[in-house]
Symmetry: C2
Subunit: 214 residues, 2 copies
């Protein structure tokens, strides 16, 4: 009944399993809850056991970011034109990031230069160049789109992450005081009633068009 293990008994730990548990924990309780001890607890294991599979906390956080980007990469790989590829990549990345709002500060705060992620970028460059884009321009656009999406999401989820850690909602401004900032209050109220992101797609298109007509 009790899954108690003794000392050297393999607990089935994996880098992947650890990252998954950490991501789930971050989603559920916020970044502040992401301590080694807590993650271990989540896996029925002591904190120090994790160090067999990840080099340290920073490496673990890099791994989290890597997980997210890995999810967003495929659409880019199998597109016909660079416009279509970047568009699909942008929307997918947006969706992935919004699915894990608590982790967004990590995505922004660290480049996550894991081997895995470097290969993702390499593949993307291959694809973009295959559809007839100068190499340097391809990197620029990859950065521009990624930066735009990340920034957009950062603004969207501002205030969510840890302030009121569990159960954070996805909004821009937390009900500003009406008498102090009436315009702001009215504008955010109006904005919130419309769909979740009517402006994102448009701005992204504007960027793609801009790159086209350079």
């Amino acid at each position: 009944m009790s899954p108690k293990r003794t000392r050297g008994q393999n607990a089935g730990l994996t880098r992947q399993a650890i990252l998954q548990a950490a991501l789930a924990l971050a989603d559920r309780e916020g970044l502040k809850a992401l301590s080694m001890r807590r993650i271990g607890q989540e896996l029925g294991v002591e904190a120090m056991s994790l160090y067999q599979h990840v080099a340290g906390k920073d490496a673990l956080l890099d791994g989290l970011v890597e997980q997210l980007f890995t999810q967003a990469a495929p659409p880019l790989a199998k597109a016909a034109s660079w416009q279509e590829g970047l568009r699909a990549y942008g929307h997918t990345l947006l969706r992935v990031l919004l699915a894990h709002p608590n982790v967004i500060p990590l995505v922004v705060g660290r480049p996550a230069i894991t081997p895995q992620n470097l290969h993702l970028m390499e593949d993307a460059l291959h694809m973009l160049r295959a559809t007839g884009l100068p190499l340097e321009r391809a990197l620029d656009m990859l950065y521009a789109v990624t930066g735009f999406v990340v920034g957009h999401v950062a603004i969207l989820t501002a205030g969510g992450s840890d302030r009121h850690a569990p159960g954070n909602r996805l909004r821009a401004i937390p009900d500003p005081d009406l008498r102090e900032t009436p315009l702001l209050a009215e504008a955010t109220r109006a904005r919130r009633s419309s769909g979740p992101d009517p402006r994102f797609g448009f701005a992204l298109e504007a960027m793609l068009r801009g790159f086209e007509t350079e």
Copy 2:
């Protein structure tokens, strides 16, 4: 000679002075060095003394972000058209953020909903509406530009903040392994040799144009 104080002697602490010292410390030694004890030490004071002027560490970090946005707000306030205002705001914000690369994760990770910042947004909305923009659209654009700049900077400074805390350089990718990712290596090398941000202005213009012709 010795600036030693005894117990109740006023040390000249202020919220402003604390924030300034903290910002300088973060610029100099990275976010990880930003502990209450360390900041106090910087001001010749014990950690707990700071709590008389800031509510806690989170509030202090919010204050840091507030400082940055306050620096970027003026250009928007005194512009003739919304295009000009947003353009000036974007470029100024970019400059301010790049001047403090270490704190960028904070800017992204927290909305810094301080009263001060809410008023900044309120003023911006006033200005944008005065030059003939629907309120809701004004907020959209403010968010879009802010998000774009933040994202751009986040990507630009990725890897800097704490990894090798002091003396971080401002680059996108840290010399990827040539044999693993040849395209990426070549593209980043080419990119780095050109100016610091040839693409930012263009992308920003594309966005503004896009909003115009909606």
